[in-house]
């Protein structure tokens, strides 16, 4: 038998600057201080986004029309947060989770149950007091979902996670203490007040919520990045690339998969906590399956396994539909066509850039490897 792999021309995936893309090569060669400075600059620009509308010329093109711009930014912030969390599960550990909205719901409902006057718990905590409890609960729910599903892979895992999200949604719908579509009102906003005693987190302007979300995002990015480069991250990578080989190298796959689920869930919980604090109201209609699919689409489209990719993807899945609001196409609000436009967008990206808009170089290599196996 002739070894086809030896006969084939060697793929030159590292030919430019020894690393996936020319940009990444240049970026890696920058001194550490310069990299930090530019990241700081990007973060600063992100904090200034609420004022982007006042830039003459391009500003009005960027801001949304049918929804006020700060609210759209807030939407982006929790979608980005969810994308970052799902990226840990799907992108790093390679576990396909279709029920990620479940964790978002657990986070939001935990806050509602402990703070809302409608709750049977009647604890009436402040938002801030409920946050650690809510995060702890989502973390636990991540482990609860993770534990029985550890032996499952690929499609089977996806189906179970889908079922998990449906269980949460049905509980929210059906259980008396979850109040179904009547929902929970009067969920308190985050604390803090300005000089004139007016609260920082009010109902008129979503800008402070966006800044809060952005701050959480920055913290999460730092945490996730550190994890990625730690032993935990290496274990995830090995599990994703070849679970069996990882096990043979001594990676405790069960432990690290649980970690991925728990950490991903906790980040999703943060999204829910923020959402509940901003909205002040939530009911069972909020947590549709579509939500999970959107976040997953964001992660895959942006570039699974890469933090900038997840951020870009998460932002796009939130921004594009919001931007279409209030724009007229042939006499109809373009928002009505959002799924059509959106679906088309995803197809185009997947056809021309299956590894995502900002892929991780490893993911790209794995994809190439799998394609090779499929054609061999």
């Amino acid at each position: 038998m002739i070894d086809q792999k030896t006969a084939m021309p060697r793929r030159t995936w590292r030919n430019r600057n020894g690393n996936g893309s020319p940009f990444r090569g240049r970026w890696a060669r920058l001194p550490r201080s310069a990299r930090w400075a530019s990241l700081l600059g990007v973060a600063l620009l992100a904090y200034l986004l609420p004022y982007v509308g006042s830039i003459p010329g391009i500003g009005p093109q960027i801001v949304t029309e049918g929804i006020d711009w700060p609210s759209a930014l807030f939407n982006i912030s929790y979608f980005v947060l969810l994308a970052l969390g799902l990226n840990v599960v799907v992108g790093y550990a390679g576990l396909l989770d279709l029920g990620y909205v479940g964790f978002f719901a657990v986070g939001a409902y935990s806050v509602a149950l402990f703070t809302s006057p409608d709750s049977i718990l009647n604890t009436g905590w402040s938002w801030l007091a409920a946050v650690p409890v809510a995060i702890a609960l989502t973390l636990v729910s991540g482990v609860i979902l993770g534990w029985p599903t550890l032996r499952l892979r690929g499609d089977y895992l996806a189906i179970v996670t889908l079922g998990f999200a449906e269980i949460i949604r049905n509980t929210a719908n059906g259980a008396e203490f979850m109040r179904g579509d009547r929902g929970f009102g009067g969920i308190p906003h985050p604390p803090g007040s300005l000089g004139d005693n007016s609260p920082i987190f009010g109902v008129r302007d979503a800008t402070p919520y966006y800044w809060l979300g952005l701050t959480i995002i920055v913290v999460v990015i730092i945490g996730v990045r550190n994890l990625e480069h730690s032993r935990v991250g290496r274990s995830w990578l090995a599990i994703r690339e070849d679970q069996e080989a990882a096990e043979m190298m001594g990676v405790r796959t069960v432990k690290y998969k649980l970690w991925a689920f728990a950490i991903g869930a906790a980040i999703g919980g943060f999204g829910g906590v923020m959402f509940a604090g901003e909205q002040g109201f939530l009911n069972s209609a909020t947590f549709q399956l579509l939500f999970s699919i959107l976040v997953l689409a964001g992660v895959v489209m942006g570039g699974s396994g890469n933090i900038p990719g997840a951020i870009l993807g998460g932002a796009l899945v939130s921004y594009v539909p919001d931007r279409l609001r209030g724009v007229e196409i042939a006499g109809t609000d373009a928002f009505q066509f959002r799924m059509l436009i959106f679906g088309f967008m995803i197809i185009v990206v997947m056809v021309f850039r299956p590894q995502g808009l900002l892929p991780s170089r490893r993911r790209a290599a794995e994809l190439a490897d799998r394609a090779k196996e499929a054609t061999a």
Binding site: K5, R10, R14, R234, A245, M249, G250, V251, R361, E366
Partner: protein, 236 residues
């Protein structure tokens, strides 16, 4: 006796894959396990490396019963398996793959020494150090898989079908490497379909048929055995 399997049986659900396997591997040996597809060769490997729980019998390593020991702890004790089909991490570079081999170890200085040794033994890996595992040729991937396993400092190296899908010349080369590793002091248990190569290189061998050991002897004895010849060497 480095490794002993005593009456090991193993089930996948209701299907019994191993029916009481007993075998021994002495320190410093190359032992081959030959047999047809589905005879239970890879399952035996999994029983030894701890990837599947036993349903009966015992695995002893270095005179201690490790039947219930977790797989990652077996790696620390010095049992490491090279997976069938190589199982190279495709997105990691050659260097990163090798580093994964030392995953269970913490002695950084000794790890660096071992990396040097692996590069001396397998110079091709040094040439390809920065290249992604998935872009290597089949032979190179097999070398990488072996080198990666060596990075864990094994006392017992389990090789699952190292010749699978490789050209005859490359197979020759891989077996020479295996013999060299053995000469340097690592005990080897080898599963092979390529019975000719395996038997001519192994000190001793076992023949596995539908989950049972049906024959054993030195490599040479089995090479000359008429039943083995007929069944596995394609000579009547």
């Amino acid at each position: 006796m480095l490794l002993e399997l005593a009456d090991v049986s193993l089930c996948y659900g209701r299907i019994r894959a191993l029916h009481g396997i007993s075998l021994i591997v002495e320190e410093g040996e190359i032992v081959a396990l030959i047999g047809a597809n589905g005879a239970g060769k890879s399952t035996t490997m999994r029983a030894i490396s701890g990837l599947r729980p036993l349903s009966g019998g015992a695995v002893r390593f270095d005179s201690t019963d490790i039947s219930r020991l977790r797989a990652d702890l077996r790696v620390i004790r010095g049992i490491v398996q090279v997976p069938e089909g190589r199982g190279v991490f495709p997105g990691m570079t050659v260097a990163e793959n090798l580093a994964m081999g030392a995953y269970a170890r913490r002695d950084q200085a000794a790890i660096r020494d071992d990396l040097e040794k692996v590069f001396v033994l397998l110079p091709r890996l040094l040439e390809r150090k920065g290249q992604a595992g998935g872009t290597l040729s089949g032979g190179e991937q097999q070398m990488l898989a072996v080198g990666r396993a060596l990075m864990s400092r094994p006392r017992l190296l389990l090789l699952d079908e190292p010749s699978m899908g490789l050209a005859p010349m490359i197979i020759q080369q891989i077996f020479e490497i295996i013999e060299e590793i053995n000469r340097q002091g690592t005990t080897i248990l080898l599963v092979e379909q390529n019975a000719q190569q395996a038997l001519s290189r192994a000190h001793r061998a076992y023949v596995l048929e539908t989950g049972r050991i049906v024959q054993s002897g030195t490599g040479k004895e089995l090479l000359d055995d008429s039943a083995v010849k007929e069944a596995y060497l394609g000579v009547a």
